[in-house]
Symmetry: C2
Subunit: 281 residues, 2 copies
Amino acid sequence: MKMTNSQREKAEAFRELHSRNRPLILPNAWDVPSARIFEDEGFPAVATSSAGLMVSLGYPDGEVIDREDLLAAIRRISKALTVPLSADIVAGFGETPEAVVDTVKATINAGAIGINIEDFVHATKLLHSIPDQVEKLREIKKLGSTMAIPLVINARTDALRFAPGDNDQRLQEAIRRAIAYRDAGADCVYPMGLTDAPSIKTFVEALAFPVNVMVRKGLPPIGELQQLGVARVSFGPAASYAVMGFLKRASREVLENGTYASLVDGAISFDELNRLALPKS
Amino acid sequence: MKMTNSQREKAEAFRELHSRNRPLILPNAWDVPSARIFEDEGFPAVATSSAGLMVSLGYPDGEVIDREDLLAAIRRISKALTVPLSADIVAGFGETPEAVVDTVKATINAGAIGINIEDFVHATKLLHSIPDQVEKLREIKKLGSTMAIPLVINARTDALRFAPGDNDQRLQEAIRRAIAYRDAGADCVYPMGLTDAPSIKTFVEALAFPVNVMVRKGLPPIGELQQLGVARVSFGPAASYAVMGFLKRASREVLENGTYASLVDGAISFDELNRLALPKS
């Protein structure tokens, strides 16, 4: 796919969504129809969920998936959307900044205009050093300029989960990392596991910069997140978890009661499903 | 993938599920985790939904999808299941019996032990002639013997939707076709659109052979289908329709109310989702 004005416009529109006075609600899809439903329902942009997307293709979350399979899925989804698409690229599928930049370039070429990039190694749960991660972010930022696509970089830190120390030490480490990533050129920072209002408040105040939180049990409602100054609320894999829970309930209804209410009530039609294969017209 | 005893055993087990005194309930999946959820919940076999699977990859239903993309998806799903998998191959991706047989062979090599094959052309909605369809079924039947895989052939007819005449004439044409397909070596016949109890009764009595009906609004519950002598009840694309309806409701809750109950209540966990990437252990 060649760089088009339309992709640049999408990047600019997506960037703008981070500086309004209310949070951007960003749903994470895993395949074409989930992404298209989100666009149809009115979300102004869509992201991918790494766990949701990878499991849908038979890979566990992380960098087990073949990079080309991930890119092909991003390409399928971006082709079906008219709104901007941000792609989760895990930790960038490479040890060196060059390798990570190569992944980002391929991701933009697959149609995405934003990325999520993590600062830990899935397989070992070890955090990359701050200087290493900062160097990667700087190089990614440069790539955006080179390609003339104002790529939106969402820098995720897993310090709240995997840094040493107690909860407070982890929060401080997450803030330290987020500040470093912000200063290296990230457009939004994403502390995985930030859920409770007091910690969100501390984080947003320390950063004075767009912060991304993820939907999970206990996350305050959107109105409260707006008051806390959160810039972006993403679903993460929540919609994948919810859909699988729904399928379990529907399965049990059929197997235990011999009825199909969960399958037919509130369902969309064949024509509606079929239309989700192609861009909204 | 080489033919293994395990694949043969799956074919035999699947065949057996059609001759019990209660219907086989066969859920149609579209990706790895949907298939794995169905296996986990206790269905003894899983099928693919052509519409669900194709739309999930960005193709409308029919034979628009590249055949290799369809086969890759069947391979991904069969690799993740320990129960038998039956694959929908639309009308076989070819005009000649040889071409259709080649598709069936590739489908078995992708891990499936059963197929659904239709008697109409998606693009034109025209029914193939009975002799043409019979020849294809005979050749497919031979292939099963050649490969020593007792492939289960579910012969679908779309006469209830696309044959000329009024409802009764269409029902008679569907029965005529189903009898021809049965006699050509099909293991089950699948009159698309057969939903109401009186027509099901007429059909099953005329065939005296395994008949497949599909879940849709108005289909009698399993208990009644059992009394009517139905051998197999498949979901078709119903679970895909239902999941998309569910995603619409969850989207509206977040966008309109700013809350996430649909996304978090009754959802599965990260570990549960991740486990769905791999075969049940």
